[in-house]
Symmetry: C2
Subunit: 306 residues, 2 copies
């Protein structure tokens, strides 16, 4: 229970910001937390559920005295938010964003950060299919990774402090550069989401198989795609628009491999298929060993008993 930032301002009050709030309270990481979201509705909800010590009706009020300002809106509006708050930031304050993309955010937010204010982009790699102020919970970041992406001129001491902050929220932390961040995330997150959206779209679109059938029989594999394909459309639109290069690169690799497997199916090349399918098991084992998933059959969704 050590306060790391005395006054914190959360801009955007969705899944990530609300989880940060509950995790900060759990860990005693912040003294006082203000919050702001675009709509009256979200601000009202936040007040009703006790999200933030104080919900402000203007961006400027929220950030005025903050030692730490967290940009937790969709990536596409962060530049504009930064521009608006810039003149009101306290000297010595720190601004972070929690966007899923880093290069574009740095390009769009960075230039607005005034002299004497720190900027340390972060990306907590944790999420659910739910969004909004009521979706958050204190354990979201526990044992997950938060990537910290210093910019040119980032103060090393502030980067250190940021690691301590995310660790106090339950995360492991790792520091990497923006370009590598965007590529890693394209692989482990952005392209999997795009593929899941596509597969759900194809299933929905197929005349000869009804939606009812797709839903009924989803447990056979399809279901695993639908969770991530239910994620917030605005967030994901912004991710793809702002991580264009890496997503298009990985998409190209993906299509190439898929075509090779399609060819093996068409020509009946069982050996190639078997070899390919054998290879991928090792990765799954690694994930289980790293504690990033449970080994229970079906993710523990069925009760195991004999």
């Amino acid at each position: 229970m050590t306060v790391i930032y005395e006054r914190v301002a959360l801009i955007g009050l969705g899944l990530i910001a609300s989880s940060m709030f509950w995790a900060m309270k759990r860990g005693g990481v912040a003294g006082h937390v203000t919050g702001y979201a675009r709509s009256d509705e979200t601000r009202e909800t936040a007040r009703r559920i006790g999200l933030c010590d104080e919900v402000c009706d203007s961006l400027v009020d929220a950030v005025r005295d903050a030692d730490l300002v967290v940009l937790a809106t969709p990536v596409g509006v962060m530049g504009r938010v930064a521009e608006e708050i810039a003149p009101h930031l306290k000297p010595g304050a720190t601004v972070i964003d929690v966007g899923s993309v880093k290069r574009t955010v740095i390009e769009e937010v960075g230039p607005h950060i005034p002299e004497g204010v720190h900027f340390v982009p972060c990306h907590p790699m944790a999420g659910t299919e739910h969004s909004g102020p009521e979706a958050g919970f204190s354990t979201l970041f526990d044992n997950r990774w938060c990537l910290i992406v210093p910019v040119e001129g980032s103060d090393p001491a502030e980067v250190e402090r940021m690691q301590a902050y995310w660790q106090a929220l339950g995360s492991n932390t790792e520091v990497m550069d923006a370009e590598h961040h965007d590529l890693v995330c394209a692989v482990v997150s952005h392209i999997p989401h795009l593929i899941a959206y596509t597969m759900v779209g194809v299933a929905d679109d197929l005349r000869r198989v009804s939606d009812q059938e797709v839903i009924k029989f989803s447990a056979a594999g399809f279901r695993d795609f639908t969770r991530i394909a239910a994620s917030d459309p605005t967030m994901w639109r912004d991710v793809f628009l702002t991580n264009k290069d890496a997503t298009i690169e990985i998409l190209g690799r993906f299509t190439e491999e898929l075509m090779a497997l399609q060819r093996a199916i068409r020509t009946g090349d069982g050996e190639q298929l078997h070899a390919y399918f054998t290879h991928t098991r090792a990765i799954r084992r690694g994930i289980l060993e790293a504690g990033q998933d449970t080994d229970k059959p079906d993710f523990g969704r069925v009760k195991v008993e004999r």
Copy 2:
């Protein structure tokens, strides 16, 4: 607790057969169950864990007196197994298979079924990433669907009885024809598996992102793919080789859609992306309402508390 088949023979003793055994015992659905698997090792394991009332060392011994013979091997060997057991089947007995593909299995198994023996192809739509005799558990089929695919000349009374049998094992049942079955399964199961394998393969293959990184950061979406990409390679090879037409059709649709989304990313068409991503949420809701998944964040893998 009504015995539906007095003597049952399980050919192949993997995930599906062992789950059937435990579910039959739980429900009192069978009087006596024999089992056979190809390797000494699997037969030994089965004996050790009490899987089957009697584990036989030959295919012929296992099926000799059986009222119900279950083909629970990979799809690719079912024709050969059927040929071998055919002369030893009891008149009036019923043969079923549990293969994930139906048209090819019917073509390969059907011709060997002797006059006076029933053949009722089945497909229990339930599975985990695990395989082998120790992977099974009695609740695998509970609240899942079993598709029953009668062949030309299937006795309607026997199809009825087969529905009662799977219901006694915990399943819901639905009857459909083989062609439709193979298309539905291509959509909800086969292509999702192929895509998952491909995505895991791409991630593994990428020089600039290490396997360690992929594993560490997998919770961001990628992880959901690895479970299904850890499934048995032999089973899946056989599925793709035997459901070629439907998988290639759906794969074509999938690639088409993916290219359209790639184009939207490249040209910065945010509206198209947003519309596409919005659309797919409805399907997810349908799955939750149908009770085919849990709504817990992260599949209940993180404990939710405030």
